[in-house]
C-alpha cells in the first residue's frame, strides 16, 4: 500500500519534536540528526504498522528510542543502569539569586542516566502521559514514575535546589553540600 501524502506531512510536522527528543537522549546534535533520519526511514518502511488515529508522535518516539539504544549497544557501550550510579557528587556551583542558568541545567541533565533523563523529558517536556511514556519505553507506569522522581531529585541535588516552590536565595539549601550520597 502506498504511503499517503498525509502521512508524509505528519512526519514532517513531527520532526522538530523528534529532534528535540533525540538531542535530549544523545546529548549530541549530529548523533541526534542521524537518529531522526534513521527514524524517518524506519517509519516510512513500517508505515503500515501504524494505526491511523493513534498517537503518531508516540509511535515515532518509540522508533527513535529503540534506534538510540540499539546504536548504543552496537557501539559497545553499556546502557546505564541508574541503580547505584552516582552523579550527584559533582555539584555545579550554586545558582545565584534564584536564577538557575540554562547552561547549568543542561549540564545537570547530561549527568543523568539515560533512563532517568528520557523519563523526565517525556513527562516534563514532551507532554506525554505516564501511560504513553511507559509504552514508549516499554516498561511499567510505576517504573516511569520512579524514574521521573529520581531524575527530579538528582537534578535538585546537582543544581542545589532544595525544593520546588519559592525558589530563591533563601531556599538554597546548604544541606545538599553535606548530605551523604546515597
Amino acid at each position: 500500500m502506498a504511503v499517503s501524502s498525509g502521512f508524509k506531512d505528519d512526519l514532517l510536522k513531527a520532526i522538530p519534536s523528534l529532534r528535540a527528543f533525540a538531542v535530549s537522549l544523545s546529548q549530541n546534535v549530529d548523533k541526534a540528526d542521524d537518529l531522526v533520519q534513521e527514524t524517518l526511514v524506519k517509519a516510512w518502511d513500517k508505515h503500515e504498522s501504524f494505526q491511523p488515529g493513534t498517537n503518531l508522535k508516540a509511535w515515532l518516539f518509540t522508533i527513535l528510542r529503540n534506534e538510540f539504544y540499539s546504536q548504543m549497544r552496537k557501539r559497545g557501550r553499556e546502557v546505564q543502569d541508574s541503580d547505584g550510579l552516582m552523579t550527584a557528587r559533582l555539584a555545579v556551583h550554586p545558582a545565584q539569586h534564584g536564577q538557575l542558568d540554562l547552561g547549568d541545567f543542561r549540564d545537570a541533565l547530561e549527568r543523568l542516566p539515560e533512563d532517568q533523563r528520557e523519563a523526565i523529558i517525556l513527562i516534563g517536556a514532551s507532554g506525554f502521559s505516564y501511560e504513553e511514556a511507559a509504552e514508549i519505553c516499554g516498561c511499567a507506569i510505576g517504573t516511569i514514575k520512579s524514574r521521573v522522581s529520581r531524575a527530579r531529585s538528582r537534578l535538585q541535588e546537582i543544581l542545589q535546589i532544595s525544593g520546588d516552590e519559592d525558589f530563591g536565595p533563601d531556599a538554597i539549601s546548604t544541606q545538599v553540600m553535606t548530605s551523604p550520597v546515597d
Binding site: 528535540a20 535530549s24 513527562i123 516534563g124 520546588d164
Partner: protein
C-alpha cells in the same frame, strides 16, 4: 530527602495532572526542563529531512509503476 516524600508517593494512574505537578509551572526544574526542550523544538530543522522524505516518496512512486 523530606522535600521529596510528598511527591514520590504514587497516585492513582488516572490522576496525571496531580502527578505531573512536581514538574509543573511552579517548579524551577519543571520550568527549566520546558525551556530546555522548547529551545530544541524551535531549533531550525535541517533541509535534509524534508529532502529525505521527498526521496522516499519518489522512490515509492517509481516502484509503483513497475
Amino acid at each position: 530527602m523530606k522535600t521529596l516524600s510528598k511527591n514520590t508517593t504514587a497516585g492513582a494512574p488516572g490522576r496525571q495532572g496531580r502527578m505531573a505537578d512536581p514538574l509543573g509551572a511552579n517548579s524551577e526544574i519543571g520550568r527549566k526542563l520546558k525551556q530546555y526542550y522548547d529551545d530544541l523544538v524551535h531549533d531550525e530543522v535541517p533541509d535534509r529531512f524534508a529532502q529525505l522524505l521527498s526521496q522516499l516518496e519518489q522512490a515509492e512512486a517509481a516502484q509503483d509503476k513497475d
